[in-house]
């Protein structure tokens, strides 16, 4: 017979708060992103941050006061580029309170600073020209919540598949946990037992509080004798179960029930209030707990490099349906064509696409564009051509279970520069669409353009329309400004505003449309 024993570990929650927060943050290769979207610290906490530039361009890391428009701050440097260059692209701005050097590719720097005393969200950004739009994140300063008090455990022995009614069982052993941190620490046995942890938890004010648990095997959390969240049964600590409940100000009875069948032993509990961050109540931290840092990625990125000729990527592209054809053109301008709607689905600039989602593991999921300023001119996977006597009315919308009637996908041909011309038929007409790029999509100078040429031959039905864009527009110097988060210009002959649609009466011949980023 093996005698069970619970051993205890000393390390108070209050001690944790004073510890230095140690982080590492990297730039991702060819993605114009940091690998960490969020850092979480406590007010006045010492921070040690190792910043590593894994990219092939120079980058820095600049921390600003809450509410700073970091993109505008970085852009403002261009007004006096020569002076900015002398400062190595670090803006002369009083809102900056900590920063790294401008690191060359594959350099590393360790920053030591103290987190601000004032709780809030402090943005961080790379201020090298053109990087601030996507290379950014947030340092969140929030105090930690209080830990448990007067924590006791009761150990029960038994072989269960689900949590038993512990109130009807006799504890095998009971005791006090001096460090008030939930932990199942076992020296010489590992299977077939249960533990009930009881203690007091102080709610600093009346309001909602969110509780989190995870365990291997089952667990259940009760506050003031009422079940809050349960994760019963035999299972690994895969999920974190959570629930928010209202609490009155003051002390509450905390009870966490746990049982172990066999295999791994894990138990995690945490809580979060409206003015304090996620605070663990257990020694063990679940790998997915939302404290500390938030990483950006699942797999190491596989960005597809576009160098001298267009690169094609057919796969599940987010926003381009299930028959998406991505094309990255030299010069940082990209598009996704849909072989489902026979239409331009997306346009974006900067980097083309990251293949890591599809080229790792089983390759599931839809991959969003890798660059920025992603435009979806006419909505999700909708056709350009439509027969209607009311061009201001709604266009057909995507039904994932069906193909659009009247359209037939024919394929694409590459020209001498290996730029594709997409071919399809609609009704009795044959259509070819080709694209050219002008300017540099990586430069926010208002000169980056995508020029779309549509050749229609054959017979079109009466009342056939071709839609270029939908949304809110205004006429501007012979073009149309498409408003929205990413405003852009459309220029073409014969275009009309029809309600929320920008349309051209469709007829055989050639149309040319220019899409232009205004900055």
């Amino acid at each position: 017979m093996i005698r069970p024993l619970l051993a205890l570990l000393l390390a108070a929650t209050t001690l944790r708060a004073a510890e230095t927060a140690v982080f590492s943050l990297k730039t991702m290769t060819a993605q114009m992103k940091y690998d960490t979207a969020e850092l979480l610290v406590q007010p006045g906490q010492p921070v040690q941050l190792t910043f590593e530039n894994g990219d092939d361009l120079p980058h820095n890391l600049v921390f600003c006061q809450p509410g700073t428009d970091t993109a505008a701050m970085a852009m403002k440097q261009m007004e006096n580029a020569e002076a900015a260059l002398k400062r190595n692209w670090l803006p002369d701005d009083s809102r900056i309170w900590a920063h790294s050097k401008m690191l060359n590719p594959h350099e590393k720097e360790t920053l030591n600073f103290t987190a601000p005393e004032k709780p809030g969200t402090y943005p961080y950004v790379c201020t090298f020209p053109g990087h601030a739009l996507t290379m950014r994140g947030e340092l969140k300063v929030m105090k930690a919540g209080e830990g448990l008090k007067d924590l006791h455990f009761a150990l029960y022995l038994g072989n269960w598949k689900q949590l038993p009614d512990f109130s009807k069982l006799k504890p095998h052993r009971e005791g006090k946990i001096e460090n008030n941190l939930i932990e199942v620490k076992l020296d010489d046995y590992k299977n077939e037992f249960g533990v009930v942890f009881t203690g007091k938890l102080n709610a600093p004010k009346k309001g909602p509080y969110r509780f989190f648990i995870s365990s291997d095997d089952g667990s259940r959390l009760l506050i003031d004798g009422k079940e809050v969240v349960v994760y019963d049964g035999i299972h690994p600590a895969g999920d974190i179960k959570e629930k928010s409940i209202p609490l009155e100000q003051g002390e509450h009875e905390f009870r966490l029930e746990y049982f172990q069948g066999g295999g791994n032993i894990d138990l995690y509990a945490a809580w979060k209030g409206s003015d304090f961050q996620m605070t663990p109540l257990s020694k063990w931290l679940h790998p997915n707990w939302k404290g500390g840092t938030k990483k950006q990625k699942e797999f190491d990125p596989i960005p597809l490099a576009v160098t001298t000729e267009p690169v094609i990527y057919r796969n599940f592209i987010q926003g381009a349906g299930n028959r998406g054809i991505g094309v990255g053109y030299p010069g940082g301008i990209n598009l996704a064509w849909s072989a489902e709607s026979m239409n331009l689905a997306l346009i974006w600039r900067g980097a083309f696409i990251d293949a890591s989602k599809h080229w790792n593991s089983r390759g599931g999921g839809h991959q969003p564009p890798l660059g920025y300023d992603v435009l979806q001119p006419t909505g999700e996977v909708t056709p350009a051509f439509f027969v209607t006597d009311k061009p201001d009315a709604a266009w057909p919308t995507w039904d994932k279970t069906k193909r659009y009637d009247g359209f037939e996908w024919k394929g694409y041909s590459l020209d001498a520069k290996r730029s594709p011309t997409f071919r399809y038929t609609w009704q009795n007409a044959e259509i070819e669409e080709s694209f050219a790029v002008e300017g540099n999509g990586n430069k926010p100078d208002g000169n980056a353009k995508l020029i779309r040429t549509i050749k229609v031959s054959g017979k079109l039905p009466p009342n056939a329309w071709y839609r270029l864009a939908s949304g809110q527009f205004e006429s501007k110097d012979g073009s149309f400004l498409i408003k929205g988060v990413k405003p852009y210009l459309i220029t073409t002959a014969g275009v009309q505003m029809a309600g929320a649609n920008l349309v051209i009466p469709a007829k055989p011949g050639t149309m040319a449309i220019t899409y232009q980023w205004i900055q």
Binding site: V311, I312, Y313, R314, N315, F316, G321, N322, R323, I325, G326, A339, A355, W359, N360, S361, R362, G363, G364, G365, H366, K400, T401, W409, K410, G411, Y412, S413, L414, A416, R418, P420
Partner: protein, 502 residues
């Protein structure tokens, strides 16, 4: 003199090392292009001794010199890229174009300007659905004898068909017209043809499949998984939708009146009586023993250049990184036969494969998503006969009261004629909705006679009982050839869909 010969014969097995697979079939691993992960998904032959390969990363490569005995002669040229997982590739000698089967389309690729890179990508056929689920693979074939291409479409996940014709085998005619051909597909792994040009595919263990299988794609047939049968109204050529098999014969109080009480109702052999379109797997590729994830089907049409197994099939496995050998026969109009281990030790999970006219088997694949015994993330390899003939069971034929075995070498009539040299167990799998399944309904039959033919090349086993629908697992531990050597592979699994009457 006679005594001396006997002495030597007895000594031979003691002094010679036991033969191993590599003595007979050599595997050569090729270096692959540094700039990519060559996750081979499909291979076909080009007319000038070159190969064309499609990959999971959507590239198409032309390979030269892979047939050469000097591996430094191999070279690669990228023909096309950016396609959505090329799990079928076919060279068409009539129009000299390449046909690539991808997720949602068969693309016809042409090199119009002759620079060695494709510049026209025509949609040859895209008349099937894709819902965006990773599981919805499309596996394509080479051209069949009628000039058609075949496509098998994986279900959406393991149970459902959320997009048109998911869970079907389709034929694409030379003009691009699509013909729904078989229903009942679950998770196909490969498509291929036998020496007569009949079409087969491999399915994977899962719902309605206790094990991986090799299945005969007879037009009009239902291959067993009812998940895709919702599309029968879009396939009028297929006739009425088959009645559904019972999801679990004994669940929910279901209890079908059973005329043969000794046979459980959730069996393929029972449901065949009820569902007239249901075609049983030709061969169960016994789960965990033969493989775990069956893929490419390769027929030996080299007329002896790949050794003694002319016209037999070789089935690759992604998980076990191996090739197994299948001998098929037709009994009462149904294909059935035996699977025997053949060659293990490939470097990664095998997916695509093709034999050339010189009897060289080119294979490749990747372990991505499921893992493989080989250990490498991807590979491109060649398997060749060394010229030495292994001592193997050559063919296994069902007889009304047993089996007839032929061998690759003359047999020792003493051991081969002794019933104690053999053992057999019979089992099957439940035919049910639940994922996978155990070997069930085990029967240990009596081997009552082992009669060696006068020519010393075959044995006739008498078995009692033979069980229709069961896999007959035969061990031949005691059988020796005339030199006293044991078989290289001492086990075979025969799927007895039908018991012949003569």
């Amino acid at each position: 003199m006679k005594r001396l010969f006997l002495f030597l014969a007895l000594c031979a097995p003691i002094y010679a090392a036991d033969p191993v697979e590599a003595d007979f079939y050599k595997i050569t691993t090729f270096e692959t292009p540094k700039e990519t992960a060559l996750e081979v998904g499909s291979i076909d032959l080009l007319p000038d001794g070159k190969l064309i390969m499609g990959t999971r990363r959507g590239e198409i490569w032309i390979v030269s010199g892979a047939g050469s005995s000097d591996t430094s002669n191999v070279s690669y040229k990228l023909f096309a890229s950016g396609l959505h997982e090329v799990l079928g590739i076919a060279y068409n000698p009539k129009d000299k174009n390449i046909y690539a089967t991808t997720r949602y389309e068969i693309t016809r690729l042409k090199d119009v300007d002759g620079d060695g890179r494709a510049d026209v990508f025509d949609n040859f056929c895209d008349h099937w659905g894709v819902s965006g689920d990773y599981h919805e693979y499309a596996i394509g074939s080479h051209f069949d004898k009628a000039g058609d291409l075949w496509v098998t479409l994986c279900l959406t996940g393991s149970f459902n068909s959320n997009a048109e014709f998911r869970g079907w085998a389709l034929r694409i005619k030379p003009d691009g017209k699509m013909v729904p051909t078989c229903s009942g597909i679950r998770s196909p792994g490969g498509l291929g043809f036998d020496a007569d040009g009949e079409t087969y595919y491999c399915d994977n263990q899962g719902p309605w499949h206790g094990s991986c299988t090799l299945q005969h794609l007879v037009p009009g047939s239902f291959q067993g998984h009812p998940g895709g049968n919702i599309w029968y109204d879009k396939a009028p050529n297929m006739g009425p939708r088959p009645i559904d098999p019972l999801p679990e014969a004994f669940s929910n109080g279901r209890n079908r009146k059973d005329k043969t009480p000794h046979v459980d109702p959730d069996r393929m052999v029972t449901e065949r009586e009820r569902i007239k379109q249901l075609l049983p797997p030709a061969v169960y590729l016994v789960h965990g023993k033969i493989g775990n994830s069956a893929s490419a089907i390769i027929c030996d049409l080299s007329a002896g250049k790949f050794g003694p197994f002319s016209k037999q099939l070789f089935v690759a496995d992604q998980s076990h990184s191996n090739l197994s050998r299948v001998f098929l026969e037709t009994v009462n109009g149904i294909k059935q036969g035996v699977v025997i281990p053949f060659r293990s030790g490939f470097a990664s999970g095998l997916i695509g494969g093709r034999m050339d006219e010189e009897g060289r088997v080119f294979v490749g694949g990747s372990d991505r998503g499921w893992g493989a015994r080989g250990g490498k993330p991807f590979c491109f390899e060649k398997c060749e006969w060394t010229g030495k003939t292994p001592f193997e069971v050559h063919e296994m034929h069902a007889k009304p009261d047993g089996f007839e075995l032929t061998f690759t070498q003359p047999i020792d009539s003493t051991t081969a004629g002794d019933v104690k040299s053999y053992s057999m167990r019979e089992f099957t799998y439940a035919y049910r909705e639940e994922y996978g399944g155990d070997e069930v309904s085990e029967i240990i039959p009596q081997i009552t006679a082992a009669k060696v033919a006068a020519d010393g090349k075959s044995v006739r086993l008498t078995i009692s009982p033979l069980t229709k629908g069961h896999i007959h697992e035969l061990h031949l531990d005691g059988v020796k050839n005339a030199e006293g050597q044991a078989l290289l592979h001492k086990v075979g699994y025969y799927t007895l869909n039908e018991i012949p009457t003569k």
